[in-house]
């Protein structure tokens, strides 16, 4: 076991080179780091928000709103489909989680069911809506979204939201934001540095759902407000002129926009948002405007009417502008939001932390100083306790720290405050591995074995304990990483890397050093016996 081994020497030297190379950037000033030749690693430790300051937002995707919207659309689809086939119906609406409709003519109930099934049915996997349709007594048809379809939809909404948030934040130019999914319906946004959390929140939190809807003038608004709104229409508040009655169906939606930018109106000089539709949107918009000249349509953003112009002529080109009491900044923000796309569902802010960078610096200093003090005391103690063998253990520990920081820098794992404590504990457990080995060696020596035999047996026997102990630590770390959140995860990752590096250094490095010492000195007794 102590015989010279080439792979052991090579692996330790490789670890040393790796550790130094990847730890070094942390000690160099940024200017030196940037002038390094391209093959040099230049990543530094990725400090958590608690260490470097910044904003932390935890948002949850409102999947309930998503469900409401899906149900509303379904009701409108049913209405359109049945009307197109001249099937009379009544009682179309939501009952609990379901949508039901009653077909007036009993003879056509079956036909209606089959029609709806062929148009709306189909499994999610095959691109259908995942609707379960069933015939109920009294010529009723019940439609229900399968649990699977709702979950798939919600999951997709979270993914989309993450993508859209990323686009929006990138447009703001925030430095290296981290956007992660957490659990089923939560999103964590971390923006380091001196960012304004309120601006961040306003740009992330807005759904930015843009629709163009026709104004319904079949009933006066005052009458509709008293509860006599025609089915298929809805009352929405407007920015400038009180509530208005609109058709529920959107003619064109924000997804059909290809361009949006802030500009100024040619005549009034007011800030406006210029936009352009894609082919489908342009066609739809062209058709609708051609058929409704003289009527009004409304531009609706997040359930609020921004403006409701009268259609003067068919708008065929596919481009237009939104005006509505903007300042240059709000028009610009809206353009950014429209370009990035609408969130599929509203987001609610669950948690918001702002950590001043100054406090972060204090925290880093306190952590670094206290860790250095702990390390110095620990080195002193093992040197006193084990003499020369203590020096070997201490050298292994230094390499352990280099490897740990090197790997953390390379993988860009986040070092948090608890992570620092995790590192301290990792060091203690690494020392424990050496203590176990040395105590075993002492056992063997006391049994009357020669130094060489004592060393070899000691290492071999201690390895069993070290293996079991570190596997349990690794299990704990992996579980923490999988199920924990935030601080716990950072801590677990540090611990896991620490388990790997400390087994390697505590066993392999000291083995190499002691083997080399034994061959050069040929000692008759061991210093620790």
């Amino acid at each position: 076991m102590l015989a010279p081994s080439r792979w052991r020497l090579i692996s330790v030297l490789a670890a040393l080179v790796f550790g130094v190379l990847f730890t070094l950037p942390n000690l160099l000033p940024a200017s030196v780091r940037d002038s390094l030749p391209p093959f040099f690693p230049r990543q530094t430790l990725n400090l958590g928000l608690d260490l470097q300051g910044g904003s932390y937002l935890k948002l949850s995707v409102d999947t309930r709103a998503l469900r409401v919207e899906k149900t509303t659309n379904l009701i409108e689809d049913i209405r359109t489909i049945l009307r197109a086939e001249d099937i009379e119906f009544s009682d179309l609406g939501q009952v609990g989680q379901d949508v039901t409709v009653r077909v007036s003519d009993p003879a056509r109930a079956n036909e209606a069911l089959n029609l709806l099934r062929s148009r709306l049915g189909g499994d999610v996997a095959t691109g259908g809506a995942g609707l379960e349709l069933s015939a109920q007594p009294d010529q009723r048809i019940r439609l229900r979204f399968s649990e699977q379809a709702l979950n798939a939809e919600a999951s997709r909404a979270v993914d989309q939201s993450i993508e859209i948030i990323r686009r929006r934040i990138d447009a703001l130019g925030t430095r290296e934001p981290a956007i992660q999914r957490q659990g089923f319906d939560q999103i964590v946004v971390q923006a380091p540095g001196e960012s304004d959390p309120e601006r961040l929140k306003s740009i992330i939190g807005q759904t930015a759902k843009l629709t163009f809807q026709m104004v319904d003038d079949s009933v006066p608004v005052a009458e509709a407000l008293q509860g006599r709104a025609p089915p298929g229409s809805v009352i929405l508040p407007s920015q400038d002129e009180g509530p208005m009655l609109l058709k529920k169906r959107a003619v064109v939606t924000g997804e059909m926009l290809t361009e949006a930018s802030q500009g100024f109106d040619g005549q009034t000089g007011q800030p406006v948002v210029n936009f352009r539709f894609n082919g489908q949107g342009a066609t739809r918009f062209g058709e609708v405007t051609a058929n409704n000249i003289g009527k009004r349509f409304a531009i609706v953003l997040d359930g609020k009417i921004i403006s409701a112009p009268v259609i003067q002529s068919a708008i065929m080109g596919g481009s237009g502008q939104i005006s509505g009491n903007f300042t240059a900044e709000t028009a610009n923000d809206l353009a950014v939001l429209l370009r990035a796309g609408a969130l599929p569902a509203p987001l609610t802010v669950e948690q918001q932390n702002t950590v001043g960078a100054e406090l972060g610096a204090d925290a880093v200093r306190a952590g670094a100083i206290s860790m250095a003090i702990g390390a110095v005391l620990m080195f002193a103690f093992i040197l006193l306790a084990y003499g020369l063998f203590g020096v070997f253990a201490a050298l292994a520990l230094v390499l352990n720290v280099l490897l740990l920081i090197g790997i953390m820098s390379m993988t860009q794992a986040t070092l948090t405050f608890p992570g620092i404590a995790g590192i301290i504990l990792t060091m203690a457990v690494a020392v424990d591995a050496n203590v176990l080995i040395y105590e075993r060696v002492r056992d063997e020596a006391h049994l009357g074995r020669s130094p060489l035999q004592a060393l070899e047996h000691g290492y071999e026997r201690a390895l069993v304990s070290i293996f079991d102990a570190n596997v349990t630590s690794a299990i704990a770390a992996i579980i923490m990483f999988m199920f924990g959140a935030g601080a716990v995860r950072g801590f677990a990752w540090t611990l896991l890397i620490g388990v790997l590096t400390s087994v390697f250094t505590a066993v392999v490095v000291t083995q190499l050093l002691i083997g080399w010492w034994y061959r050069t000195r040929k000692p008759k007794t061991l210093p620790i016996v």
Partner: protein, 315 residues
Amino acid sequence: MRWPLITNLPRVFNLDFVRYAPVAAVISSILIAISFGSLAIRGLNFGIDFVGGALIEVETAKPIDVGGLRRVLTEAGGEDAQVQGLGQGNGAILRFRVPENADLNASTQQVKDALQKAFPGIEIRRAETVGGKVSGELARSGAIALAIAMLLMLFYIWFRFQLQFGLGAVAAILHDVILTMGILSLTQLEVSMTSIAALLTVIGYSMNEKVITFDRLRENLRKYKTTPLRDIINRSENERLSRNLITGTTAIIALSGALFFGGPVLFPLVFTMVFGVIVGTYSSIYVALPIILLWGVRRDDDEPAPLRSANLPQR
């Protein structure tokens, strides 16, 4: 004294560990009763990570007026307002909750504005808000992680040793967790997400101790097939004592720097860890082993550990 110091320690001690097990059982029971009592009466001082609410850290040029801060806080709508002075007396941490139906973020902004109006030049260094929904989730995810980690460790020990070893370990770790929560309750240290990390470390360290303990026990069980279990436990613990002294001291020394110089943010975490090192060492000897002693072990287990032949490099 000779140098290195280790040479002063006899290789094998000759203490009757098992003799004190009944005494230890009484002590452990009393400590557990105190812990439960304190948890029932005083409870834990949950931070906003768990109960929801807002935390604002401020700094002023002049010495801070704690009473004034509390008054402004309450007037601006903060419930349960707590003000804690910091450092040289120029800083303070404000904690408060808002009424159930109020918007937490808006209320926090309101408090910030009120503070800036009442104390011109006040610097807000940190502001955190946690909604009630998140806090429930944090507690749940912490508890789930805890339960799963314990269960997996039980299975691992069962697989590597025997079932009663695993159950002894889990009982000992529960003992450690209860005492740790008891000390958190007695000292009223703030319990945050970080405390969960500390608690999991206590468990990890404790489990490490159990495995090392069992490993020596298993080895001696194979070596001395007819010796009574009680004597084997005593022998194993005497053989392990020097390792326990060195490792325990090293761990506490390593943490002592952060304990005394880590500042108020690091203190609760490190304090919990130091406590865990002490309790974890104790419970290996006086909770896990007595359970195994009372239960008994299988003595026909003479297969070599699979690791020996398979994974170790041959000499």
